[in-house]
């Protein structure tokens, strides 16, 4: 088979009209321009891979400076594919993808998009959780201490109540490996939160709402469960990994360092999933049982939070949704194991100190 094309010899940009013959062992190119005529033979092994050809087929041959031919004839491409099936210069994984056509490409793109979304929704949190769970305890403690100090800078600490709360906690059997450090801060907000490494911040607003110390014990049990199960650390690594992903995408690497330092403010607004909250509720109840306290404390605490005046924004409730559901679950758990509660004068005493003005 013979095709018409242009031949470039690698020395000049002048395209010489040429006749290209497909032979068994390669191409023969007979060119003719002005006074110059000649013929070259291209062995298959010396031909360079040619991808992305369209109506025009471009083939290149040999070492620098490469010779090349260009043939504007769709038949040439097909003839090459037929004659030299499987030859190295015709192989291209990309061309086979391009030949999939529109629907094939669309399916590939959609599955990639699906994978991407799945990775963002499940992959990132799972990876972040793994990182959080393998975080050495000493680092967790150091990180928590830094965050705790940063966070308290924005508040006024009530020293008397803080001392009473810490004394109360030391009387409780908390079953936690960490030493616990708690602080009571002056604020009307009804809120409390756990910081990784054994730190707890309680707002005066939530203490004012309580009437029994069992409610405090239930609250502490809940927050300490967040700490023991590294809920806050996990939530932090999650939000941090999304942040890191975004910074890598937008090429702002120095931002990551800034966020590492400035996580204290975001910690306040961390939300845990419903499962984690229920887990913390259940373990909080465990703490009441271990200390032989009235388990109704947990219910009272929930009801207290639920029945806040309409206009009052309850921060604790806003980051802990589904209070009604949680009361139901707690009630079921309590009904399972009815146990008598004991009086705890020591705890009562510190509770009085906490409540006293």
């Amino acid at each position: 088979m013979i095709f018409e094309g242009k031949y470039y010899n690698g020395q000049s940009s002048k395209g010489m009209p040429a006749q290209i013959t497909l032979l068994a062992d390669g191409l023969r190119i007979d060119y003719c321009a002005d006074e110059v005529t000649g013929s070259v033979h291209w062995e298959l092994a010396g031909m360079h891979p040619s991808e992305f050809n369209d109506a025009t087929t471009l083939l290149r041959y040999g070492k620098f400076p490469q010779q090349s031919i260009s043939v504007v004839d769709k038949g040439f491409k097909e003839a090459l594919l037929q004659q030299y099936r499987g030859a190295a210069f015709l192989k291209s994984g990309y061309n086979s993808v391009l030949s999939l056509g529109f629907s094939g490409i669309a399916i590939m793109a959609l599955s990639l998009l699906g994978l991407l979304v799945a990775f963002l929704i499940w992959g990132v949190p799972a990876l972040a959780d793994r990182v959080a769970m393998h975080f050495p305890e000493s680092y967790e403690r150091a990180l928590g201490e830094q965050l705790y100090t940063k966070m308290l800078q924005g508040y006024q600490v009530n020293d008397k109540k803080t001392a009473a709360l810490n004394a109360y906690l030391s009387e409780l059997n908390t079953d936690l490996d960490y030493p616990i450090t708690a602080a009571v801060v002056t604020s009307d907000e009804v809120n409390a939160f756990a910081i990784p490494g054994g730190y707890v911040v309680v707002y005066e607003g939530i203490l004012d709402k309580m009437e029994h110390h069992e409610e405090l014990a239930a609250l502490m049990g809940h927050e300490l469960a967040h700490i023991r199960n590294r809920h806050s650390l996990r939530a932090m690594t999650r939000s941090l990994s999304y942040y890191m992903l975004a910074s890598v995408l937008f090429g702002d690497v120095s931002g990551v360092a800034a966020v590492l330092v400035d996580n204290a403010s975001t910690l306040r607004n961390l939300e845990y999933s419903r499962t984690l909250e229920l887990e913390a509720d259940r373990e909080g109840l465990e703490l009441l049982r271990r200390n032989e306290l009235n388990e109704q404390g947990a219910i009272l605490l929930m009801e207290r939070l639920q029945s806040g005046s309409e206009l009052e924004m309850l921060a604790f409730v806003s980051t802990h949704p589904n209070t009604g559901d949680r009361i139901k679950v707690l009630n079921e758990l309590i009904a399972e194991t009815k146990r008598p509660a004991k009086e705890k004068p020591e705890l009562e005493r510190y509770w009085e100190q906490l409540k006293g003005e």
């Binding site: 000049s12 940009s13 050809n53 400076p65 010779q67 120095s254 360092a257 330092v261």
Partner: protein, 341 residues
Amino acid sequence: MACVIFLINFSPYFQTFMTTTLLEKEKQTTHFSFTGRGSEYFAIEIVNIVLTIVTLGLYYPWAKAKSLQYLYRKTELAGTPFVFHGTGKEMFIGFIKGLGVFLVLYAILIYGFISEDPGTLLIAYGVFLLGLLAILPLALHGMMRYRTSRTSWRGIHLGYRGELSDMYSTYLIGFFLTILTLGIYGSWFVVKLRKQMIDNVRFGNVRLRYVGDGGDLFLIHVKGYFLSVFTLGIYLFWYTKNLLHFYVNNIVVLQEDGTYSRLQCQVSGWDVLKLTVGNILIVIFTLGLGIPLTTTRTMSLIMNNTVMSGQFDADALVQTEEAYDSATYESMSDMMDIGVI
């Protein structure tokens, strides 16, 4: 720094591919064109992304080489496409070199942040900036040598004959003058840098010249800045068009016989506006997956609206480059390609 980044983004294509002439006698027009299709390039990039993810990023340089091969193959001058000869292996080496340098610099910066000590941070930031300053000329030089030597058209290779020392002196003098003049010299600096890069490009026996004037660029910036502010940003598209014209239309192609031609870019402000708005919408509604489409749209707009007018004789080019795989191309800088365009 901003102007330098801008320049990096625009230069490689134009300095290698463009020319214009204003001569009166028998002016002829040679067209550039882009024949790539969004769907094809999209498919190539999808394969690239999948392979890059599967290999945990190792495939990236090969992916880069493939997309460049496609984009070059679909860019035509006088009906003949360009060929990109770079390989994944070469780009891998270049990528590792570039990555190594940047990792070190960023590690220093992040160390400064983590230390939380203002003094340390300041020193780290200083080292980071000095490092960037020292590495950029080398990177520009390496990129020019690499990209030009790996580009051919009708079998004729481009080449770069600039000296690294010239690049350093142009760059460092310009940089410090820009700082001393509080940025005003920046326009002249950019033009000097473009001259250094473009004037040293060979396209076979054809030479390129950059004839832009720093004063003109300065006026474009001043006008662009104030009108953009007054029009609440709408003028930005025309500002971009003016910059594009300034960078492209000042490139002159000189043939050995003394004839020359000039590049002419006919993109209008409206074109830039439509392109930009369309690209933004594509990126948003495809969650970023449509970025390849924005590349082909941009290439189409620019290439299909750019011509070379003058006496360009497409048949008269003669090979003048030596084989690029010779030892002269093995120095540290040659393959350092920070991967722009």
